[in-house]
């Protein structure tokens, strides 16, 4: 009987995960989420982040994650850390050698969304949260089809 309950609980957890994945929160994830973890579990936020990535011309330096003028975003090496909070800070405050600060260009919510999307480029988010291919010329596999990158490590 207890195993049946365990299975039921597992099912409920899966369904609730679906719930979190699909939620549309237009004015930012709730204040109970100071660390921004919820953003990378929500498909809508990640998709909005992907829009911002294009709209803010992030491709200009980082290409589609492979890097160029700026470092690559889809590998596991992170100069300033690859956790969502660290990426959020890199976007918000900028970093030396050219990364501009976006804190007055994007809202806090948008920066979290963008950070969540950046996490999806190396597929550090769940597969069912990462975006699928674009209706455009595609330069590689969509985020949702990428293999998860190796564990995060510092350095370039």
């Amino acid at each position: 009987m207890s195993s049946a309950w365990a299975r039921f609980a597992l099912l409920a957890a899966l369904l609730l995960a679906g719930c979190e994945r699909e939620k549309r929160v237009y004015s930012g994830q709730p204040a109970t989420n100071p660390a921004g973890e919820l953003y990378q579990e929500n498909a809508y936020d990640v998709a909005q982040g992907k829009r911002l990535y294009t709209w803010m011309n992030c491709t200009g330096c980082h290409a589609h994650g492979g890097g160029g003028i700026g470092p690559a975003l889809m590998d596991n090496r992170w100069i300033y850390g690859g956790k969502i909070q660290q990426i959020y800070r890199s976007i918000r405050d900028g970093r030396k050698n050219g990364m501009p600060a976006w804190k007055n260009r994007l809202t806090d919510q948008q920066i979290w969304q963008l950070a969540a999307y950046v996490r999806s480029m190396g597929r550090y988010v769940r597969k069912d949260v990462a975006p699928s291919r674009d209706d455009a010329l595609n330069s590689g596999k969509a985020e949702s089809r990428r293999e998860r990158s190796a564990p995060l490590e510092p350095g370039r």
Binding site: R21, P131, R133, D134, D135, N138, A142
Partner: protein
């Protein structure tokens, strides 16, 4: 092994008892899952479809409540978009098509005088797949993953980039489930009608309801692959990054619309044609007159079936297709009105000289003609390219197709429920409540949907979750909302009537309406084997013309057997054994459902799913060690 026991060796009562033993199924949990009885499955199918009707109807009521007043905040855009997608998808895929097809699962074998359908296990399988698909859709809705791109799921909105999350995948996979079950039922119906009609039921004696089911089944076989292909392409685009609909890489956005409507327009006729069958079935006994223009009505079914495949483009008149091509589709869309018109004329001609009995089923037929003709005529209007450029995607179209689908299919269905309920459950529904039900439905329906014509012309587009007060749409929307709740009340009354009948009503006789077709020959409800002796018919209304039906004998009384007859003349050809209950269809449906569900998340589910599916199919088809004629 004893010698085969033939029904000619025994007294009729003894034959009946033995057949009942052979055809009945254990009343255990296993028996419940393993049943292959077309009546149990048909009943289950219809009840399940009615539950989906209830869910889809509740979604509609929330939408109507939201639209009742301008700038309303009852639900936001996200919930509203899911609601109308769920409403449309549920009503089309989980209610209307299945309920019409599977009324046939129950009635066709009875009407053609046989004991079961051609493939009883496939029939069971189709029910379970349908149930799992529908359940998946609604569970997804309740965990915030309800599809939100409309029941038509146009790309790119439903595509990989703009259809965020798993919502559209769930829609597309729901299509796979329902199409799988729909095709299984269609194949079953075709073979059953072709090969299992009782001796003497040549093609000019087939009941019109069965003709309608047959033509529909053929349409399903030809139309459903189009939507299965397109929904599979959509899943591939979303899941593995193919480019069928990616205009930037050589795909095409309009390809989706062509494929979807190549199925989607015939689908309307999957719903409407069986409904015309119900109308024909009701008119004859309640007008106490044989149908005028039987062959015209049959040919009209075929004509509609053919023409239905040539008018899908009228859903795409404003996509910028070439003008001359559009005019062709105007002509073909108009042409489909001809067979519908002929049907209406024949029905009225039959009623004209009939000695009418004003029972609830006939009232619903009157309601059908009243509402459906209005919907058909607005259909002629939207078939015109220029008019369509104004009314396309407005509430005018919403009004039009509700008049056609509710007026043209739900009204006959309600009539059919009142008509056949005694056969299904052996109880009579209350007539007085039935008449209330009818009038409430008429008033509610027309109040809900007539104002929408005007709203559409006044510029109200479809699928908007709210509108500003200054548009001046508030009054008519409120009227429409009130009408919707009245219409819903008529269904509540039906539910009360059904519950009351099941608990208290007296038992129904075999033929309470004094009808002439074969389904009224066995007791109500029919025994597991339907007919103790397979009847032989010599006219279209055998119970009227030969109250003491001649019968065929020589079948086994100790195993499941049916008579196979020739295609045109229905001359007996052989006896065919029919399989006993089996759990395998349920297991197969379960593993296939899990596989399809998994493939929403990873393409590998299809690969790994093959293993259990293969094992199940081996189990299903494993030779049982008995020869065919002894099994």
């Amino acid at each position: 092994m004893s010698a085969p026991l033939l029904d000619t060796d025994l007294a009729p009562a003894e034959v009946s008892a033995r057949l009942e033993a052979v055809w009945s199924e254990p009343k255990t949990l296993w028996g419940w899952f393993a049943t292959v009885d077309h009546k149990k499955i048909g009943r289950r199918y219809v009840v399940t479809a009615l539950i989906f009707l209830l869910l889809g109807g509740l979604a509609a009521l929330v939408m109507r409540a939201q639209l009742g007043t301008p700038d309303n905040h009852l639900v936001g855009p996200d919930v509203y978009n899911q609601l109308f997608t769920m409403h449309g998808s549920t009503m089309m895929f989980l209610f209307a098509v299945p309920v019409m097809e599977t009324l046939g699962v129950y009635l066709v074998p009875l009407m053609i005088g046989t004991r079961t359908v051609a493939f009883p296990r496939l029939n069971a399988f189709s029910y379970w797949v349908y149930l799992f698909g529908g359940a998946m859709l609604w569970i997804a809705f309740f965990v915030n993953s309800g599809p939100d791109a409309g029941w038509f799921s146009y790309v790119p909105l439903a595509g990989p980039q703009y259809g965020i999350g798993k919502r559209s995948d769930i829609w597309a996979q729901m299509i796979t489930y329902t199409e799988l079950s729909g095709l299984a039922v269609a194949v079953n119906t075709i073979v059953t009608v072709f090969k299992m009609r009782c001796p003497g039921m040549s093609i000019d004696r087939i009941p019109l309801f069965v003709w309608a089911q047959l033509v529909t089944a053929f349409m399903i076989v030809f139309a459903m692959p189009a939507v299965m292909v397109s929904s599979t392409m959509l899943i591939c685009d979303r899941l593995v990054g193919t480019h069928f609909f990616n205009w930037a890489e050589g795909g095409d956005v309009l390809l989706w619309q062509h494929l979807f409507w190549f199925f989607g327009h015939p689908e309307v006729y999957f719903i409407f044609l069986p409904a015309t069958g119900i109308v024909s079935a009701i008119i004859v006994p309640f007008a106490r007159r044989k149908m005028f223009g039987y062959s015209v009505l049959v040919l009209a079914l075929f004509a509609t079936g053919f023409l239905a495949f040539g008018l899908w483009v009228h859903h795409m008149f404003v996509t910028g297709l070439p003008r001359l091509g559009e005019s062709f589709f105007t002509a073909s869309s108009m042409a489909v009105a001809v067979p519908s018109g002929m049907q209406i004329f024949c029905w009225i001609a039959t009623l004209w000289d009939g000695r009418l009995r004003f029972a609830t089923p006939l009232l619903f037929v009157f309601g059908f003609i009243f509402n459906f003709v209005a919907g058909g005529l607005t259909g002629v209007m939207v078939a015109s390219v220029p008019i369509d450029t104004q009314v396309h995607d407005t509430y005018f179209v919403v009004a039009h197709f509700h008049y056609v689908l509710v007026g043209g299919a739900v009204f006959p269905l309600l009539g059919g429920i009142y008509y056949w309920f005694p056969k299904f459950y052996g109880r009579m529904l209350d007539e007085r409540m039935g008449k209330w039900n009818f009038w409430l439905a008429m008033v509610g329906f027309n109040l809900a949907f007539f104002p929408m014509h005007i709203l559409g012309l006044m510029g109200m587009p479809r699928r908007i979750y709210t509108y500003p007060a200054e548009m001046g749409w508030g009054g008519m929307n409120l009227a429409s909302t009130i009408g919707a709740f009245l219409f819903a009340a008529s269904f509540a009354l039906l539910a009360v009537n059904i519950v009351r009948a099941l608990r208290r009503a007296p038992g129904a006789p075999a033929n309470p309406w004094d009808a002439g077709s074969l389904e009224w020959a066995p007791a109500s409800p029919p025994p597991p084997h339907n007919f103790t002796f397979t009847p032989v018919v010599a006219s279209r209304e055998p119970l009227w013309d030969t109250p003491e039906l001649p019968v065929t004998t020589g079948l086994h009384a100790d195993r499941r057997e049916t008579v196979i007859t020739s295609l045109v003349e229905a001359e007996p050809q052989m006896c065919e054994s029919s399989p006993p209950p089996s759990i395998w269809p349920f297991v197969a449906a379960l593993v296939i459902s899990v596989t399809l569900l998994g493939s929403i998340f990873t393409p590998w589910a299809l690969v790994w799913g093959l293993v259990p599916v293969g094992i199940t199919l081996i189990g299903w088809f494993w030779p049982k060690g008995a020869k065919e004629e002894e099994s």
